[in-house]
């Protein structure tokens, strides 16, 4: 019993550490022999099948039918999970209040509170910024975290293929590709040329303006329409234009994978800590040390300005990262 437990623990440990059997070492089960009619079945094989021990027979059966049964189980379980989730969601929808009722939560005092006391309570002239970065800042934090997580997972997936690129040159040759696409239209071969004079001239004129515009939109997020998401998108377009005009190496000099990870995680940490502090003080009725400032000044709105800058950094890095990863496979 103790030995079995040890074996199970060792297998689990190997599985966690990634030392288990690798998919490329896996033995592909042989094709099951075609089912001959009963009269033509070879006699010796028939008897041998019955003479084999139970375990060997189980192994043979597993080799032939295992994958099939696994596929059936997998499909069944996923269908079951989907049905459970869908029925839960439908039950929640059935519990929702009726549409257009006057006592619905959307029609209660929240909106009036936002419009009448929003500027006074958040210190932001732009009520939408006060809404998304003060009243509902937790929601915005989740959105930024989702963006960052998506970028990091793409980085992991494509980065792994980049690291393996040096030792596997097993891409199908063009002849083999052509054999598969006889009836398809001729393939468009793409060669990336980086010496476009017109694009460079336009980029050198417009990149500073775009960067300035993005910074203005981010920093004035609590005063005028804009904010972290839109400003970050503008900043990332400047980066993408720079990468297209001067090549990705030029952007690498000041913005690479490491810069992205460091800046985005720092921004997320600052966001979580500062907003956690503000939620803590607000929920416990402790006086917060963060000043609100006078409405309309650039230094006002309490935490909204630094939070906008954090969100802008994350969005700019993520959007540029997606472009660079999917076009170059590198960042």
């Amino acid at each position: 019993m103790n030995e079995e437990l040890k074996n199970i623990w060792r297998a689990f440990f190997n599985w966690v550490m990634g030392n288990g059997p690798r998919p490329e070492n896996e033995v592909i089960p042989p094709e099951p022999p075609p089912d001959l009619p009963f009269t033509q079945k070879p006699h010796d094989k028939y008897t041998r099948f019955h003479e084999a021990t139970l375990k060997e027979r189980y192994n043979q059966w597993l080799e032939i039918h295992g994958l099939h049964i696994f596929a059936i189980l997998y499909t069944g379980l996923s269908v079951l999970t989907c049905i459970v989730i869908v029925s839960l969601l439908l039950a929640t929808v059935a519990e929702l209040p009726p549409f257009g009722h006057e006592r619905n939560p959307a029609n209660n005092e929240v909106i009036r509170r936002y419009v009448e006391h929003g500027g006074h309570e958040t210190g932001a002239q732009n009520i939408v910024a006060g809404l998304i970065l003060d009243y509902r800042a937790f929601d915005t934090f989740g959105e930024s975290a989702v963006l960052f997580t998506a970028a990091v997972s793409v980085l992991m997936l494509l980065g792994a293929s980049r690291r393996n690129k040096t030792d596997t040159h097993s891409l199908p040759s063009s002849n083999a590709m052509d054999a598969y696409s006889i009836h398809a239209p001729p393939m468009r071969h793409h060669t990336f040329r980086k010496d476009d004079v017109i694009l460079r001239a336009v980029a050198s004129l417009s990149i500073p303006v775009i960067l300035m515009m993005g910074c203005v939109v981010v920093i004035n997020g609590h005063l005028s329409p804009g904010g972290g998401f839109s400003g970050g998108a503008i900043l990332s377009t400047a980066l993408i234009l720079c990468a297209n005009a001067y090549g990705f190496e030029r952007v690498h000099e000041f913005f690479n994978e490491r810069t992205f990870i460091v800046s985005s995680s720092t921004a997320l940490m600052i966001y979580a800590l500062s907003k956690g502090y503000s939620f803590f003080t607000g929920a416990n009725h402790i006086h917060s040390v963060i000043p609100k400032g006078t409405i309309g000044n650039i230094l006002s709105g309490g935490l909204i300005l630094p939070l906008n800058i954090c969100v802008g950094l994350i969005v700019a890095g993520t959007l540029y990262g997606f472009y660079a990863l999917f076009s170059e496979g590198d960042m």
């Binding site: 001729p186 393939m187 468009r188 793409h190 060669t191 040329r193 476009d196 017109i198 694009l199």
Partner: protein, 113 residues
């Protein structure tokens, strides 16, 4: 009165260019011809329309914003059309069968060789 007449002439010109370009986009068949027409529509037509609006509005901040829009369009739209056309020339292998075009880069290479 004179201002309205000038603005009307400019905007009618812009309307003419835009409508001709719209007809051209549907009349032409290949991509390079179409981008030739579409670039004209966006640069010259937008210039005439916006300058007509500027003349109507007179000297104020609104005209300044319109002038900035014109500068932006004249900067970016030809570059964008150029890039789209270059992408078509570089990626379409059957370009010589579709339309007549002279590859200047190849000729230059040939001369230098």
């Amino acid at each position: 009165m004179i201002r309205v007449i000038i603005a009307g002439v400019l905007m009618l010109g812009g309307l003419f260019v835009l409508s001709v370009a719209t007809v051209g986009i549907f009349r032409f068949s290949t991509m390079l011809n179409r981008i030739h027409v579409a670039a004209k529509c966006d640069t010259l037509g937008a210039l005439l329309m916006l300058s007509g609006l500027m003349v109507l509005s007179g000297w104020n901040v609104f005209s300044l914003k319109l002038a900035l829009v014109i500068v932006f369009m004249w900067l970016c739209n030809p570059a964008a059309s150029h890039l789209v056309a270059r992408a078509e020339v570089e990626t379409n292998p059957a370009l010589e069968q579709i339309c007549d075009f002279v590859d200047l880069t190849k000729e230059n290479n040939h001369d230098s060789n």
